[in-house]
Amino acid sequence: MTRRLECVLLAHGSGGRLTRDLIAGSFLPALLNPYLAPLADAAVLPELPPGRPALTTDAFVVDPPRFPGGDIGYLSVCGTVNDLAMAGARPLWLTWALILEEGLEGALLETCVEGAARASRETGVTVVAGDTKVVPKGKGDRLFVTTAGLGVVPPGRDVGDHRICPDDAIVVSGPIGDHGATVLASRHELDAPRLCSDCAPLSALVESVFAAGIAVHSLHDPTRGGVLSVCHEVAARSGLGLRLFESALPVRPPVRAVCDLLGLEVLSLACEGRLLAWVPADQAEAAVRAMRTHPQGEGASVIGRVDQVRPHGVPVVLETRIGGLRPMDDLSGMDLPRIC
């Protein structure tokens, strides 16, 4: 073991002794497993279980890198695992690469490595390969993470927007917008002690829905762009109409408060530990029940349905609490905070 890292130096990325010290001192103790241990150029893995391999890649640049309920390390592993789970895949292995800015405080790096390790323990998905680069101060914002994830879709399972049918119910696994609201509040130093990111792995929740015998048609995690962006993507791919019920949308009061304060649309706020499931209407209640047996799905509810015909040709509409029908346009550019 080496000394505790105080601050990242350019030399930590040079490939020499300091790089080896960084890996041995900061990364291996938290992430070690038999496939990572040889520190070879590539991890050689056992044969895949039966099914179709699923491969994903993701990049993480969240600002701030530490927020209530998580950090960029935890987020990066959860996010990658969740992308695989949304394809119906059982996640198996990850790669994890860091771009560090010269001068990064060692404690922050430690938090993020520990976050990644915690997510890895929670999901049983191990980091089998990694890389570290250091860029000069001012050329990066503290730390960025990129990942790749490999999983397998079990035989007989087929999940995707091509399976969505008219009348399908749209189920959400819990309250929406917590991650986006928390990160925005942290960034702007809003004092909101009740806010906490929903960042969490979803692979076990997905498996529990399949285990309950639900014929899941499609799955999405409403990350960047939130529920609204996912709905627009689904509508565009399926050619169908999506209808959301305002009175059924689960939104926690502090999240609602941040939206009101900053003038944001809650349906456009990111979630990092929630999923949307498209299921046959007659299985909607069973899907909700199955989710609620799982800690990540305690707040599950039906929030919408798929329409064969789009009202006025609009792809995504909201049935408002007062009985109106509102077209929901997709987010355009950045969601701009209001000024008065």
Binding site: S247, I322, P337, I339, C340
Partner: protein
């Protein structure tokens, strides 16, 4: 708050709509009311209220979106300042994508201009403290609701002798444009839904001149669908009775005299000045300029080269802001001008009439 079930109750809304329909049947002629405030515009559009009202009652949007009424010359100056090597321009997010004569602030930032988005004027003060080598210029845009926070930032900078904190004065006050509208023969309005947030600061007595001087109705309302519908009902009743008055239906937040503490802080730094409004031109006494004692904080005195101000061709933001046309009557609306590629300012902020219409109103003939 617009989603608070307490104020978005379907039964309450249905009851109010029934009452409004009943009054509308008694009215001798079609009636037009203007919602002055951008947040009201957003509530009206988001709740779909325009389509729920009887056809004889028309709601039009007014000049209450601060970004929308900011003239292009102001943005040109902000842009020029942001390209100076030792200046960082701080702005509320709404202004980032408002077109100037050349480009918007977002495009300028991508080309190397120093632009920072802040959520609070005090964020800009904090930036000034951490960047003593830079002059930090806050784009001071907004109505009576926003000005006290800008005055508070100025006070903080004064107290800590932060001489690199400046503002580019562009704040405006609401009563003068309402007077201009009431006086404008092109604008046919029977009554105003008056801005609730502004009234929290000014007090509702600031709008009594509408009835006294022009014989027009006015009602201060809050920001939920039921608030707005109560306001419409009150205006319709006044028209039916032929007794225009200015009343306050937002008494849970608004008092007759407003918030004198906040306004005293504003008056410490600012004094009334003539200023230009998009769509209206120059309106006497409608702007706020820094008092002479604070000229060292006035960024409009920093010399910059400005292009001749160019309004986008064909854009009818000015007419939309005066309620002369609805957004969809502009030839650019929805085709040339969308939230993705806004031509006019009213398409940028979520409170701009055009953006609210584009996002929430059903578009004629819209289809896949």
């Amino acid at each position: 708050m617009t989603d608070d079930p307490l104020f978005a109750d379907a039964r309450a809304v249905a009851g109010l709509l029934d009452a409004i329909r009943h009054v509308a049947e008694q009215l001798a002629r079609p009636t037009t009311f203007m919602e002055v405030c951008g947040t009201h515009t957003q509530v009206v559009a988001a709740a779909g209220l325009r389509r729920l009202l009887p056809a004889s009652i028309r709601l039009i949007s007014g000049p209450g979106c601060p970004v929308c009424v900011t003239p292009v010359g102001y943005l040109d100056r902000a842009l020029a300042l942001a390209f100076l090597p030792d200046v960082t321009v701080c702005t509320f997010g709404d202004l980032m994508r408002v077109p100037s004569s050349t480009m918007d602030l977002e495009a300028a930032r991508a080309r190397g201009a120093h632009v920072a988005v802040v959520y609070s004027p005090r964020d800009a003060v904090r930036l000034a403290r951490s960047r003593p080598d830079h002059r930090i210029v806050l784009l001071a845009v907004g109505f009576e609701t926003t000005v006290p926070t800008i005055a508070a930032a100025l006070a903080e900078a004064e107290d800590s002798a932060l001489n690199n904190f400046l503002v580019l004065p562009g704040n405006k006050i609401m009563p003068p444009p309402l007077r201009a509208l009431a006086d404008d023969p092109d604008v046919r309005v029977d009554g105003f839904l008056l801005p609730g947030h502004v009234s929290v600061v000014t007090g509702w007595h600031a709008f009594r001149f509408l009835a006294a001087d022009f014989g027009l109705s006015g009602v201060v309302v809050g920001f939920t669908p039921t608030d707005v519908l109560r306001g419409v009902l009150e205006l319709a009743l006044q028209v039916e009775r032929g007794r225009p008055q200015v009343v306050n239906l937002y008494s849970r937040a608004v008092t007759p005299a407003g918030n004198p503490t906040a306004w005293a802080l504003v008056e410490r730094f600012f004094e009334p000045a003539d200023t230009g409004w998009r769509g209206f031109g120059q309106i006497p006494g409608s702007g706020l300029a820094l008092r002479p004692a604070w000229v060292h904080r006035d960024a409009s005195r920093i010399p910059v080269e400005l292009p001749p101000p160019t309004e986008p061709q064909g854009c009818r933001c000015g007419d939309v802001l005066r309620g002369v046309v609805d957004p969809n009557q502009c030839a650019l609306f929805g085709a040339m001008c969308t939230p993705d590629a806004p031509v006019g300012a009213c398409m940028v902020s979520s409170e701009g009439s055009c953006a609210a219409w584009f996002r929430h109103e059903w578009r004629e003939g819209s289809s896949e």
